[in-house]
């Protein structure tokens, strides 16, 4: 077991280059995807799918945490939450781009894209 080199090696640069390249390529390809028409909201109280073409505001509870979710301009976003973490509030809205909004303390996942389009497992659909 030898101490790693203090100066960056070729292997270091190769690793950094591969990760940056694949990360950027993934982000570019995912942003090129077509906008989602539906989003899946999965919490501890159930799973439901919302239609992103209709602007609406939903109140959702998951794992004892309350959320206000807004659908506006074909995008979905968490606009209010009493979760102590706040990451879900700071995450950008999704819909025009695939992705997900996750709240770890509330065990809530809002997803669009490949996962979000799949209505399998949804308890009900809100038009």
């Amino acid at each position: 077991m030898k101490l790693p080199e203090k100066k960056p090696t070729v292997a270091d640069f190769a690793l950094v280059f591969i990760v940056i390249l694949s990360g950027i390529l993934f982000l570019i390809f995912s942003s090129l995807g077509s906008p989602s028409s539906r989003a899946t909201v999965a919490g501890t109280d159930g799973v439901f799918t919302v239609d992103l073409s209709n602007d609406a505001v939903y109140s959702v509870s998951s794992n004892g945490i309350d959320y206000v979710i807004e659908v506006s301009d074909c995008e979905i976003d968490v606009i209010k939450s009493n979760c102590p973490d706040g990451t879900c509030l700071n995450t950008k809205s999704i819909g025009k781009r695939p992705g997900s909004i996750v709240c770890v303390p509330g065990k809530l996942v809002i997803s669009c894209g490949d996962g979000g389009e799949n209505e399998n497992g949804a308890d009900f659909i809100i038009p």
Binding site: M1, K2, L3, P4, E5, K6, K7, P8, T9, V10, A11, D12, A14, L15, V16, V19, I20, S22, G23, I24, F26, L27, S30, T40, A42, D85, G86, T87, L89, N90, T91, K92, P98, G99, S100, V102, C103, V104, P105, K107, V109, S111, G113, G115, G116
Partner: protein
Amino acid sequence: MAPTSSSRKTGLVAKGAILLAVSLILSYVEALLPLSRAIPIPGFKLGLANIAVIIAYFSVSPIAAAVISFSRAIVTSLLFSGVTTLIFSFLGAAFSFAVLTVISHIKRPRFGFLGLSVAMALAHNAGQLIGSVIVMKNFSILWYYPALALAAVICGSLTGCALSLLPERIYKRKV
């Protein structure tokens, strides 16, 4: 006067305890920073505590580093984030420690502190995301991995630079 075997062991235990305290302080400092506002990715952290784990791995022993890594994961989860995140932290610590062990034994290609830190950060994020998938039973969380991987490169490079700047005697198994 040369140190005896028992005094050397005591010295290494003391060094391990100091490094555990350092890792907890670094985690506390991280918890104070409003990172989730600047970069809203669940599980995003600077990973400063990895500095203490890597120092312990080379200057004390791999077992001491494992103890520090897992103890820190348990204590910081209970103190700063809650029991829910315990599995994320634990899996993150397990994955990054596994990568540390593998890379430290690889002769070719030879990695430096920068590559080691980046690889550990990537593994930590992978472990955390797998933990999230297990707890939340939702694969959509994996969408975050590319963004987390880019963040891991930046944070891993920072900790790698910090490790490179430390004097070499810190990594020696001397007390």
